[in-house]
């Protein structure tokens, strides 16, 4: 009797848990769907090839986002050109250091985690002080890109570091036992094995940099002209959306359309990341 009671109670708990999970899932999906639907509803009518390629007119109420996309791409390019090599190098050093110096490694990892969670406005102020003022780059794509690089660097290092660390220790041992040098082991074995995981981190970093607004207002500026050099000021897409939505009465339609473009880019990047991620886990499973 008690057993039956216990069973029905367990079943009730299971049902409640499932219900909770479903509600949570529907909420998450619902919010996402709402945002996407809202963007499509308001943004789609303004979206066209002209919008994508034309220069903005009348403070963005008319025209398009051509120069802004160019500035965004340049910012992202600078950010990645700086953050990827430094980040990957740092992760390699960290992974190699870990075997010999346990507590400094832990300290560095903890610091990176804190940096990765730092509000971006702080990076904006830091970038403004260092790149715009001290180094004299002024409000420019260069300052903005470098600031973005600082911002995503902890993310890049940590994800690459995790990927490198998840390579089985046995690979290192058996490579060493074969008399392979440390460089050869890294090049032939560790880096390829970690590469998919590293790529996922990079892609997430791209997504974060692309979505950044606060840090760029202080560093790359507002100017919506087509930049002629990296020392020109330029407006990122996210800054454009912020400006249209907050400072330009009547700019809503184009703010929506710009947001739709941005979200599409982010979705595409996330799709790539998850593809790479699943392929990575498949590789890892088959290697166990």
């Amino acid at each position: 009797m008690q057993d039956i009671h216990g069973k029905s109670r367990a079943r009730l708990e299971e049902t409640l848990a499932a219900l909770g999970a479903w509600i949570a899932a529907i909420l998450v999906l619902g919010v996402f769907g709402w945002i996407l639907g809202d963007l499509l509803w308001h943004g789609w009518p303004s979206l066209s090839w002209e919008f994508v390629f034309d220069a903005p007119r009348d403070a963005g109420r008319a025209g398009g986002i051509g120069p802004i996309l160019v500035s965004t791409a340049l910012l992202l390019g600078i950010c990645l050109a700086v953050a990827l090599p430094i980040g990957f190098g740092a992760a390699l050093c960290l992974a190699e250091l870990a075997a010999r110096a346990a507590w400094p490694t832990r300290l560095i990892r903890r610091s990176l985690d804190i940096l990765a969670g730092m509000p971006s406005i702080l990076f904006g102020l830091f970038g403004n002080a260092v790149f715009c003022v001290i180094l004299g780059f002024g409000f420019s794509l260069l300052s903005g890109g470098l600031t973005l690089a600082c911002m995503v660097l902890p993310l890049v290092i940590r994800s690459a570091d995790e990927a490198l660390r998840s390579v089985p220790a046995q690979y290192r041992l058996s490579a060493a036992a074969l008399g392979l040098s440390r460089g050869a082991t890294l090049w032939h074995l560790i880096v390829p094995a970690a590469l998919p995981g590293v790529l996922v981190g990079f892609t997430l970093a791209v997504g974060r940099a692309l979505a950044e607004t606060a840090a760029l207002i202080f560093t790359s500026g507002y100017v919506d002209r087509l930049p002629h050099s990296l020392l020109d000021s330029g407006r990122a897409l996210s800054v454009h959306i912020f400006d249209l939505a907050m400072n330009v009465p009547g700019g809503d339609a184009h703010a929506y359309a710009s947001a739709l473009v941005l979200v599409t880019m982010l979705l595409a990047i996330n799709l790539v990341a998850s593809r790479l991620g699943s392929r990575w886990s498949l590789c890892r499973m088959s290697s166990i």
Partner: protein, 275 residues
Amino acid sequence: MRPFFQGQTALWMEQHATRALPPCLRVKRLGLAYHSRPVLADISLDILPQRITAIVGPSGTGKTSFLTCLNRLTDLIAGATVTGQIYLGELEIFSPAMDLLALRRRIGMIFQKPTPFPFSIKRNLEVPLREHGLRDRRRIEQVMQEALEQVGLWEEVKDRLHQSALSLSGGQQQRLCMARAIMLAPEVLLLDEPCSALDPLSSSVVEDLITRLRDRFSIVMVTHNLAQARRVADTVALFWPVNGVGRLIEQSATEQFFEDPQHEITRAYVRGYKG
């Protein structure tokens, strides 16, 4: 460092031919500690050329750790400190001047779990050969085929050299690892329970292979399997924990070890009373 390969077939052949040189590992008062906790103490023994030395004893007596001292894999293990000396011929292995890559080419190692790299079968063999200076493509293929034939794997894999090494069975993977080790023409082979992760059939194939390799290498084999030690080994060394630290109790010729052990722990161990 003596010259390796240098991409010259003649040199490679010559090295194969001079395999009969008597290499001999002499271990003198070896001690090992992990984070200052001693694991091995006062191990002194000789590894005879072209013989199989089996190392037996209960788990946790530092048998595997002993092997990793012999090719200085201990360098890669955080917190490991070694005392004493090991001589490979006239060379002191722990001397700072020791060329580690050369050492590990001269002393190959096979692990308990097969450790093929997540590459194709071919690339598993190609990468170490190239890294040790063999560049000639035809020569590489020749060495690869020879090595695979020696471990009896060539017929099984010759049509799928480009498939992932991970698609092989456990026994095949272990033989691939052995091919990978012996193609570098080492003088000593360290085998860490090479059969224990394999099914009985693959295990006997690998065991046969080990006996066939006897006259070309000095083999040091850790095993839990006393019957295997008896079948295969020329010399048996028993490691035993004394106050939690692994020590060498007895090293003697296989027959004597099993028929007429000198030490009472050995006697109890081979009769199954202990361990």
